[in-house]
Symmetry: C3
């Protein structure tokens, strides 16, 4: 096994040499190359032939131009590395293939021998931590890092996942549902939440270089935010910092968040682009500076993007810090707009599986809307976080404007929670009358209508309200119109079924 | 009250002085600064600390670089001000904070004492009129300026608004609907249409400078097109010219119109981006000049945007005027695509509350499609407007092409009106049989299906047809597919309910 | 007839002369003008007055700056013309109005006398073939070129077209459906598929120059991909290369494909923009080079667009060809994701009307999913095409990554086909019980629900899976959620109708 590659060995060496010549020539920008480690040069020797896209993408990025030693010399606010010091063996080379793909080999079950080097297939937060420890630590405690468990280890959500993505067949005229396949989960829920990558051993793959041995990974490829990596770490920095340019510009653009935060369940991007801020972003951002660190309000950008409000280090033109950088994207949030089934204060812990409501269900609210308060942040903490968010708004808006905005959001949360309650009362009625069966609360027609009330429509209205706009969205697209029509239809179907099937009108 | 700010007075003065130094230093672009009025300098002294975003946004715009005196020297076609003369006290200063926020204090109920200056919170069209009287006058007579009354003072539309956005609760197993809250109206219908801003007095707000007194405004913030302002004027120029850059580039980009003109009711942007013109805009507009006045066909842009057809001053490369600028965005339109409930000729007046159809309802057509002709423009006027629109098309297209296009639109209007009639006939049948109750024609399941026929699907098909494309949209997305399926479902539900409930088949 | 124009003759001549002066002046870029043919100069003389938009658009493009003779001198990989030689009379002039609009007059039924020149209204692939024969030949055999017949000459699809776009009326309380009007077909299905353009003779049109005679064309204007042209040729190059810049940049941007490949039936663009590749495109493509030929992976672009995978000539930075250019956009595809009604191997021929399944229907699969294999490419050919696609992926990704990706796609196809089968079994049940009538399988409520399963939801999931992402789309937006809910609703409606109408439960 693996011998297939040896036959091409000499050709590879020849090509690698040729490429090295190319890459160290002045035309290619040669003067900088001496700072590339010998190992990375070897990687690039072959990979610029076999996977040139990623090599050139890397070359476009800061990693290929900066050594950690240089990075550490920047003033603190401008610094893109958060480590206080960097291991000696890394600090004088640019951050190349080998520097990242060879970290912590003892932890990496996906470490393998590749052309004479010990290489990890997957670079994980644990590896990025070498230079970016603060970001990794913040992220590690967030709901995002724990996104797989938060979904699949919660029996209620797991049932919903199964009801939606499980393969259905007709048997004897009835619909049967199977457990979702791993691959379909990867293409749906776990595409965003992340998959568990395990190493089953080695396997042979055919490549342009011949057959080579590589680790046999489960549920791969995947770049979900809570990916469980072969070194035991959680998360994929590449969810938002796509390989191999790792451009801060990309991470700061809303399209990155818009890989997952989308209608109908979490339409952050959909409502943002219809808002005033989205209008300004779409119309004027070609003149903004997306790569400035720190990010200066008014000078580098003139309207917020996702990153402005939820993550970036912001300063005023005279250098005052308006918001500290965070990679726990919920840490500036006081309320969780996302209804489960009601909007509620943010959970205390990024691990939401520990939550139990008064009915004993692993949900932050009861079906009638009571909070599982001991698992949620208290009012003082909510106030503190709201204040930190308002500080960002106030970089452009008067306090009165900002207060007015959040007053509207508060009302929206209250009213959409009420609308969820109304739908839930109809649902309880239908379960009580035996029109549908509560055992699995997510798999019958009325139940699906009920889910849409809180998962699609109420959430959409809240997102629109939070993002200063999208009034047409909140009115007609996926908002009040749907809430009202769907509620009416639920009522109508209950009546029709009660009449046609003789279910008892026990109200 | 308000004393909270005095404690910080000296710090403010100090900071303001420091900022003035900064702003008049050469690095900041000092040579131009002498033209800033003393009052505006004072504003900026503090606001570049407290709300730097808007100060820097303003600095990016033309207002910060041009005095009215200079603006008046431009050749007429290039001029961005329409006033023949500008008051002496304004003409030699750039258009800064104080110049706009201090106009007409006697009319402004939102005028208040702010750090020693009399300031209006809201700058209104009446204020902008100082330099832009023609635009303000055009706008004042348009449907947009009257958008609040046109919606809420029309009892039919008001009922629809209430049915959609009113909070619903379940009482004794029945759905009850409340009047919509002010805040929900602000986040939905009135987000686009505008709110009525009244001054309830003064109130204390906490700011970074301490507590200050500010006017206590109702329904604020809002930037809807028909906003009723505290000086009695109508409209918000900031709907399309976002503060404080007031960039013509932003106003001319379709994202601005796309804050409100969206699916499912008015999907102008949605169909535009799928059209050939939208394709060219999205693919090539990074090379266009969006800030040129006048706007030259072929040189400054190579495909129309919303502004091209509906608003901008267009010239040919040799300087011939192809279309005069207008801020009455309906003035180039002969037909109103938006079905109420049928598409119909544009109304004569921007105030549509005066319309009465033959059935006595405040609608431009009867339920069977007859026009309330005396309130609509006549054929000669329609012809005139169509001609002015064709002149724009003909800057790129042959007359035959243009005629062919509008021939298709005419057919689309006729057929979608027919489809609305078919749905209305089913609805009348259902009302007659007592399946639903006509008292409120907008709140029951069949009624909602009927509304979607004319408000969502028919409108969408017309918009797609008007915008030279979006064939997949008109076929499947929100068009003929939906029209056909929904009509069939209406029929089906009527039959099912007739059978299950014993409603009399009285046709 | 036509005399109306003579009255303006002298004015036209005067203006044309003036324009010629302008266009040959140094300020306009005069030095290049001698290479414009005399006829094209005459065209431009008038058209820069009457339709300046297209004249300036043309001037922005390569056609206006390059002669075929020069184009032929480029190295082969950089060449944008595929002809080995170009007729002598064309080779030394830039490619202007007359060069294209005067080709093959004997074949063009739309050829007419226009201001003393014999002009074709429509430039067709047969005309473009003069310089681009390879592209035209590839295209001519593709499904796109045959898109009208493939839709309308297939009785099954034609029935679907009629059911969707036919005008409905209520007669005696029943819904009646007419044949769709030509104009509505143009605005829907044939907007993308193309119309048949015939010449009915000449007609008079009013223009700014007075009345002139022009060919009277049917179904015009249209730029659908399979347009049947008055010279007998098929296709419209302008579908993707909009007039008159004919920019390769536009053709390579996904917005061009996104004129037609859209949700809900073929949501290629919709899922692309939510994918990782779409994220990188939207965030970073302002720095890409869209006009480079050949197109270099990693240097000119760092993520694929539609054109990268389906059409463009791709090379690696050292010049190795990764993919040959093709204008048969299906030629790199092994599977047809688009379910008819199941996803299946690509058809052998671009003419799909010849296909017959085992049930004698003109469909590539039976209703139970069996392939009409003799009309579809065999496994060896599938393997070959998959390999060519993988070569593109592997320009950035490891073989294992790429295999993992296509493994997921394969699973998606299998499961969505199963879900289509489940819906079809319910449909067969309903037809059997007489709940709906199979004569027209596309016009009743349950039938429409069934159609959505395979035409909207299954397709959407497959597109999302093929495009490496859009997990939220595949889960909730138009994917598994809808598949599951709609299937459940079909079942529910069958039961309800069985009970209410007494249809026999004959399962």
């Amino acid at each position: 096994m693996g011998g297939g590659s040896s036959g091409r060995g000499s050709a590879v060496v020849w090509l690698a040499s040729a490429l090295l010549l190319l890459f160290t020539s002045p035309a290619y920008g040669g003067p900088e190359k001496p700072r590339m480690s010998a190992q990375t040069r070897a990687c690039i020797g072959c990979h610029s032939i076999y996977t040139p896209g990623i090599v050139y993408d890397w070359r476009s990025g800061r990693h290929s131009r900066t050594t950690p030693e240089e990075a550490l010399k920047s003033p603190v606010l401008q610094r893109r590395v958060s480590a206080k010091s960097i291991p000696e063996d890394l600090s004088r080379y640019v951050v190349g293939c080998y520097e990242c793909h060879s970290r912590n080999p003892e932890k990496h079950k996906d470490n393998f021998d590749h052309m004479g080097f010990r290489i990890n297939v997957i670079v994980t937060p644990e590896d990025c931590k070498t230079c970016h420890p603060v970001e990794v630590k913040e992220y590690a405690g967030s709901k995002k890092a724990l996104a797989i468990g938060n979904l699949l280890d919660n029996p209620v959500y797991h049932t919903l996942v199964d009801s939606v993505t499980g393969l259905k067949r007709i048997k004897d005229g009835e619909i049967t549902s199977e457990k979702p396949s791993e691959k379909t989960l990867q293409e749906t829920c776990l595409g965003c939440h992340g998959t568990k990558i395990e190493v089953r051993g080695l396997k042979k793959v055919s490549t342009e270089m011949g057959e080579i041995m590589v680790p046999d990974l489960t549920n791969w490829p995947n770049q979900g935010v809570g990916r469980q990596n072969p070194d035991g770490s959680l998360g994929a920095c590449t969810s938002c910092h796509p390989r191999h340019g790792f451009s801060i510009e990309v991470a700061r653009k809303p399209y990155t968040c818009a890989q997952c935060h989308l209608e109908p369940d979490t339409p952050a991007w959909n409502v943002y682009k219809e808002s005033k801020h989205g209008n300004i972003y779409l119309s004027a951002s070609s003149k903004w500076r997306f790569d400035a660190v720190p990010w200066t309000v008014g000078k580098d950008f003139t309207a917020p993007t996702c990153a402005v409000c939820h993550s970036s280090l912001l300063v005023s033109p005279e250098g005052r810090v308006i918001a500290q950088r965070t990679h726990d994207f919920g840490s500036r949030l006081w309320v969780r707009l996302f209804g489960l089934i009601y909007s509620h204060p943010q959970p205390r812990s990024g691990d939401t599986t520990i939550i139990k409501n008064k009915d004993g269900l692993p949900l932050p609210t009861t079906f009638t809307g009571e909070y599982a308060s001991e698992y949620l942040i208290d009012e003082a903490e909510q106030e503190e976080r709201l204040k930190s968010m308002k500080a960002i708004c106030n970089a452009c808006h008067s306090s009165d404007w900002t207060n007015g905005h959040f007053g509207k959001l508060e009302n929206t949360i209250r009213e959409t929670n009420e609308m969820t309650l109304a739908a839930t009362e109809l649902m309880l009625q239908a379960w009580q009358r035996g029109i549908e069966d509560r055992t699995n609360p997510f798999d019958e027609p009325l139940e699906k209508m009920w889910i849409k009330q809180w998962l699609f429509y109420s959430n959409s209205i809240r997102y629109a309200s939070a993002m200063t706009g999208a009034p047409d969205y909140a009115a007609f697209k996926l908002g009040w119109w749907e809430l009202a029509e769907n509620l009416q239809r639920m009522k109508d179907m209950i009546e029709l079924k009660s009449r046609c099937t003789g279910a008892s009108p026990d109200r």
